[in-house]
């Protein structure tokens, strides 16, 4: 839907902390974006249904105590589960969760979403195999064109910054994910080959870095596109020229395609 202005909510609670970069990315495309604190939704001051896109940014919501994203998810569920389900069932709407946002979508049961929406989590983003927070850049191969990835080149570089990003699920669900072609990005080596640590920075099964649900309108991604929006945010810009950052293309896809 080229040119049309979307209403975007960047959700936040205490500990959310990549909201500014995310906000700036939408602003760059002149979208109608605002910060929406969960407390405002809870008190009826903001309504999810008024937005076209929900963006759940990275950070350490509520400290990531218990498990990363679990508290945010539980709270969102308690406040607006019905609205959220309606949101997902509306094919014109989009939800994207980055890093902590991905963890939240998993905990909510909106991802992997092999059958749409699940009431209980069907996967987990577990503690990295290295057992450490890892702030580093990785290479991703695009596995599929979706409304989040259509504009993205085949091989991109994005930064990760998380302690809990190992995608894990049962073998049955993993099979279904692959069958449904829900993997949007996979970690790869710099040349595009199979990723070993540190190229797969967390030990994710099947090198999964980003997933869409089976409806195609909810995406979770561990690396941070909003931190790689401009060329000068790439770590190797003194060696290699770019017009824009690789994360730019994800926002472009999201905003220019329905």
């Amino acid at each position: 839907m080229w040119g049309e202005i979307m209403k975007v909510a960047v959700l936040q609670i205490e500990g959310t902390n990549c909201e500014e970069e995310s906000y700036a990315a939408f602003k760059h495309f002149n979208q109608d974006v605002e910060y929406v604190h969960l407390n405002l939704v809870k008190r009826g001051k903001k309504r999810l249904e008024d937005y076209d896109i929900l963006f759940i940014p990275g950070g350490f919501s509520a400290g990531d105590y218990v498990r990363a994203g679990s508290i945010f998810a539980a709270r969102l569920k308690a406040i607006a589960w019905k609205e959220l389900k309606k949101f997902v069932e509306d094919e014109n709407k989009r939800i994207i969760g980055v890093c902590n946002g991905f963890q939240i979508l998993i905990e909510l049961g909106l991802l992997p979403g092999v059958d749409g929406i699940s009431e209980v989590p069907e996967a987990a983003l577990m503690v990295n195999d290295s057992n450490r927070f890892e702030c580093r850049w990785v290479y991703l191969r695009k596995e599929r064109d979706t409304s989040f990835s259509k504009e993205v080149p085949e091989l991109i570089a994005l930064p990760v910054a998380h302690a809990e990003g190992k995608f894990f699920t049962t073998s049955k669900i993993l099979e279904e994910i692959e069958e449904n072609r829900q993997v949007v990005f996979r970690y790869v080596s710099p040349s595009g080959g199979k990723a070993e640590y540190p190229w797969n920075p967390n030990g994710s099964l099947n090198d999964i870095a980003a997933l869409v649900n089976s409806y195609g309108n909810v995406m979770g991604i561990m690396p941070h596109p909003e931190r790689a929006f401009h060329w000068y945010q790439h770590p190797d810009w003194t060696r290699k020229k770019r017009e824009v950052g690789d994360g730019y293309y994800i926002f472009k896809s999201l905003l220019h395609h329905k």
Partner: protein, 768 residues
Amino acid sequence: MRARELYPGVYEIDILHATDDELMEISESMGLALSMEEMRRLKDFFASLGRNPTDVEIHAIAQGWSEHCSYKSSKKVLRKYIFGIPSKHALIVMQDDAGVVEFDENHAYVFKIESHNHPSAVEPYGGAATGVGGIIRDILNMGAKPIALVDPLFFAPPDYPYEKLNPGIKHPRYLLNGVVAGIRDYGNRVGIPTVAGMTYFHEGFVNNILVNAGCLGIVRKDKIVRSRVDKPSLLLVMVGGRTGRDGIHGVNFASRILGEKSEEERQAVQLGNPILKEPLIHVILEANEMGIIKGMKDLGGGGLGSVVGEMCYSGGVTAEIYLDKVPLKEEGMAPWEIWVSESQERMLLAMEEKDLDRLREICEKWDVEMSMIGKTKEGENLELYWHGKKVLDLPLKFVTAGVEYERPYKIKKVEKMQELPVEPNYREIFLRLLSSFNIGSKEWIIRQYDHEVQGRTVIKPLQGVIGYESHGDAAIIKPLYDSWKGIAITTVANPQLGEIDPYKAALYTVDEAVRNLVSVGARPHSFSDCLNFGNPEKEEIMGEFVESCRGLGEAARFLGIPYVSGNVSFYNEAFGKNIPPTAVLMAVGIIDDIRYAVTSDFKEEGNPIYLVGETKEEMGGSEYYRLIGAKSTTVPEVDLEELRKRSEELLKAMKKGVIRACHDISQGGLAIAAAEMCLGGNIGAELDLAPLGFMRADFKLFSESATRWLCEVQRGKEKEFESIVKARKIGVVSGNTLRVRDDSRWLFNVHLNIMRERWRAALRDYVG
């Protein structure tokens, strides 16, 4: 100690009739950490009032007079050397909680570095975390948005034998792990990138580790908030965390020598709560955007007492405080405990009554507590109330202005000498240096910190080909969305030089700070200093302090770089041992256009390599001599004029775009600088040391002489470069090994993969 209960929880302490011994007993049993002289002064003062003090009053005064709050040992020296370096762009210097410096027409940057040594030695995780939390508040309370953190750290070597540890002292590995985890968990959770630091290992830190934390923020000039209030009838509102018994006597603790008993000093230890701080940052910034904050200070060392005192005293007003209005974590706290508690995550705001509801609305959105706890007023005396009863009534000046000492000092004479060891096996010694603790890769630490959150880190702490990055000299932050201007940040300290000659070490530290900033293309702009020393009551230690300050002051004054904030940490002594003098600089540079920034990694096969600066036979304090166990007191000399000239030349050449990579030469000398440049670029180099002239090859390779850089110059631009920068061509980027000869004699030839393996193993094998 004779005491009488006035009201529940409040005692009158009889000092008027106390003998000297009893005075000291009072100081001891109340945990005041005051000297005999100070106790007598206290007694005389109350004698002049004709009454005894309450316990609240005594605690309030002890707090105000602590080393930590009053800088009683250091102030005279600081004033002489460090303060008052003239600068066009410094806006607020050494007055408020952090220094404020002009960034561009409409913006200022705000920064400061501080120590959190004692708490981190006792509880590394919580100590380091609260150190980060505290320095963030210092930036925040100027109204600035915190955008970068730094963390210079000092430990004993990780292979220190367990058996040699003194009782109660934790192993450096445990401390390193805990400290890094504490900084990581706090910094990452509040969403502020940790972009620079240093990690230094030296046996002298075995009993006293040093954990310094610095923070930098950005603020619109019209939104700067002062740490003072100069109007009466403003409300004082506490925002954030509750007040508890934790952190009581933290400042007295910080001004005391660590010993076996420190294990019990639990109350001075806190864990910090980043997830209370994160929304608090939002609350403060939103309220400040509305323009409703008339003065602000964070509650750090000294708690409410020192905050109210300093905030009002510097603005020329006083205050009345209702201690019962302070929200508490636990019931039954005595008023004096509330007054001195150092519980984390609290801010005190001065504001007009009409704005209270607007603040309340913001606080509600973010689930942050607030409470009006007092008012400013005119007059001399500070008044504290407890359920309507007055429990303190004292001249603010007496409580806050504190005491000042002129401590005697002795300057140690340095006899110049230098052993000449037999020539080493070059390949072996090079690899040993590469894998030594102080030189080896710090990746294990750097990557546990989110150094990119907020998306502003345009030059990262690790630089080079993705996945192969090596050490950079400084990080660059691009603070504003619509401006190319950037802020470069680095931290520097040289304890190994300091223990030989603190004055020359200080000059060298300034030199290195400048080198690091210039390496990335930034012009040095301002400094914050964190001075970590032993017990100032010892004349030699005080001498080290004076000499360090003299060096820091002289060098910065010559270069026209002001110190805009700082911190002194004394009493880093335990079991009769003092730390080596450790003057830490957090240095900030400005780069007008980040598109001209330069990184340390070699870029391209065939580019020539140049050496800038003079290499001299100054091996004192070098990593090479430490490693082979050779002695030298001949530490590098700094020629400030050379430093200025070379820096200007390099910056000019960078602006022309002829320099592709630049790295200053520091620990490990030329050989290590070249190795790091190879590692980051994942490409080799060939060097010939003949142009350095006649000197031992090991000195050429490993000397740490000041004011030197290695530059990779764009091929074809040699003439242009040489016309701008005084430099010698010593090699070329090529192949996949680092090969070094001295004229016709080959010294070593090592493959990149071997270098990388050794370099990465340095820490990795100890930290798991």
